[in-house]
């Protein structure tokens, strides 16, 4: 259970100016739930994820994971950024190893092989990042985030730089991984259809500073068809609530 209460974040811009990106955000996310965050650019979605994974510290409120406050990065929370962020000088294997450095070498190797198998990149274990396509690189990033078997996986617009065909494949792939591994998934996306098709709940953020505007439950069985009437209806509804600014 991830419990976010009264979370706010104010950045000091230097020169005494401040900028509040998030204010009074309350959000409870159950185990194995898939939640999407949508909202217009600059409403604080990335800021929220960075707080949850411990990269930034909140200026108000708190975040608890299984009852314990989040104070910094932990193996329990995996993060995939918008860009794959692979080290260009490390092979695929060594990039994934970055998440495992505190384990014994043999355990590292076993887990890396396992994770690469899961994302379908076992054959590319010793390739360098420059030899990978965009979709493959993002799968390595997903493998790196999942190799610790975190209880929460955070994804910040992970597919936005990919072509629509690759994006659809990776969405399906993500759901399969989720079904097998059973992590909690929080996904930031600009693609409202993606949010509806993937999530149990879509959270709409709005405004400056960003607050939760509304939450939409998606009670549809999986796998979902992108063209299903209900999916399209929810999509229209959410888009309408985004536009009203």
């Amino acid at each position: 259970m991830l419990d976010i209460s009264q979370l706010s974040k104010t950045f000091a811009d230097g020169g005494g100016l401040t900028h509040t990106a998030l204010e009074g955000v309350d959000l409870r996310i159950g185990d194995r739930e898939i939640v999407s965050l949508v909202g217009t650019s600059g409403c604080g979605k990335s800021t929220l994820l960075r707080l949850v994974c411990g990269l930034d510290q909140p200026t108000g409120g708190d975040i608890r994971l299984e009852g314990r406050p989040v104070t910094g990065p932990s193996p329990n929370v995996g993060m995939v950024f918008q860009e794959p962020r692979l080290m260009p000088w490390l092979s695929v294997t060594e990039n994934v190893r970055l998440a495992l450095l505190d384990l014994a070498r043999r355990e590292q190797d076993r887990r890396i092989a396992d994770a690469l198998e899961k994302v379908g990149l076992a054959d590319f274990a010793s390739a360098l990042p420059r030899q990978l396509s965009g979709g493959m690189a993002q799968r390595v990033a997903i493998a790196r985030a999942l190799v610790r078997q975190p209880s929460v996986l955070l994804l910040d617009e992970p597919f936005s730089a990919l072509d629509s065909f690759t994006r659809l494949k990776l969405q399906d792939h993500l759901v399969e991984l989720w079904e097998r591994e059973g992590f909690t998934l929080i996904l930031v996306t600009h693609d409202v259809e993606e949010a509806v098709v993937l999530s149990d709940r879509v959270v709409v953020l709005r405004g400056h500073p960003g607050r939760i505007h509304r939450e939409v439950d998606v009670d549809q069985p999986r796998p979902r068809s992108r063209t299903a009437v209900e999916v399209q209806r929810l999509k229209e509804e959410i888009i309408a609530s985004l536009d009203l600014s």
Partner: protein, 285 residues
């Protein structure tokens, strides 16, 4: 079972155990392309001198220069001159690069070290390096110590600046990956900062080496009884342009060879780079 089909790439064999792309060795002839321009210049030089465009006492013919060098080489004198100059550059370079590496790593990594040290170092950099000469001669005498110090100073600044700025401009996004994955200080330095900084550090070493060669001449012109720089002064005093030109050519060869050493090391160490140059290399069959 892999969950999605692999997007195989045409340029990668299946399961390519893709270290750096294997470099296709260039055919021997293609390597000779680098010598085309020197050959043309040599021909031009030869024809200008044999046509008598320039008088002998200003620009002697290539053969005259070659003979002069051979005569020097026969007695073993030339080898000694070359050795002492190379030794000065090597020691000065090693000392300057070592100091620059220590200080550059410190000021690049730690912002408080930077706050304390960098302004002073930048101010010292503003002093034209040759302006140190009188002081160094006063302090260290006219023999080796003052020469090597001067060369070391020349080498220091490009290495220092490139290393410091290389560390500082390491992509914040990659450092965040290290933080998310809980890398300790040591792993952050070893797996991320050092490789990220390497290209700029190597550039610094190459410019440092070039300055090392520049400063060795300065040091030897100012007073030496041996070395290529001394040979040039000697040629000037005794009115033998062939010796001056010969020494110049030897400087060019030595500088080029030592730079090629660093460049070769750089190519190996940064083979992961995805630059325009690399694509040209691997695209050439």
């Amino acid at each position: 079972m892999s969950v999605i089909t692999l997007e195989r790439r045409a340029d990668l064999p299946p399961g390519v155990q893709g270290r750096a792309t294997p470099r296709v060795p260039l055919p021997r002839l293609a390597r000779l392309r680098a010598f085309a321009l020197p050959a043309v210049l040599l021909l031009l030089w030869q024809s200008l001198t044999s046509a008598g465009v320039f008088p002998d006492y200003l620009l002697p013919a290539p053969a005259v220069v070659a003979n002069e060098l051979l005569a020097l080489a026969a007695g073993g004198v030339l080898a000694e001159h070359i050795a002492i100059t190379v030794w000065r550059v090597a020691v000065g370079f090693a000392a300057g690069a070592l100091a620059a590496t220590l200080l550059g790593a410190l000021t690049g990594y730690s912002s408080s070290a930077r706050a304390y040290l960098d302004p002073t170092l930048q101010a010292l950099k503003a002093v034209p390096s040759l302006a140190w000469v009188p002081l160094f001669i006063l302090w260290f005498g006219i023999f080796e110590a003052s020469k090597i110090t001067l060369i070391g100073v020349g080498v220091f600044f490009p290495v220092y600046l490139n290393l410091m700025s290389g560390i500082q401009s390491t992509d914040r996004k990659l450092v965040e990956v290290a933080r998310v994955n809980g890398l300790g200080r040591f792993d952050l330095i070893r797996r991320i900062l050092i490789p990220a900084t390497l290209p700029s550090y190597l550039t610094g070493l190459r410019s440092g080496l070039a300055l090392g060669w520049m400063f060795v001449i300065a040091a030897e012109l100012m007073g030496a009884s041996q070395g290529l720089g001394f040979l040039m002064i000697d040629g000037q005093m005794t009115g033998r342009p062939a010796i001056i030109i010969g020494a110049l050519l030897l400087f060019a060869v030595a500088g080029k060879l030592s730079d090629a050493l660093i460049a070769a090391a750089a190519r190996r160490l940064t083979a992961w780079q995805d630059g325009y140059g690399a694509s040209q290399e691997s695209g050439r069959a």
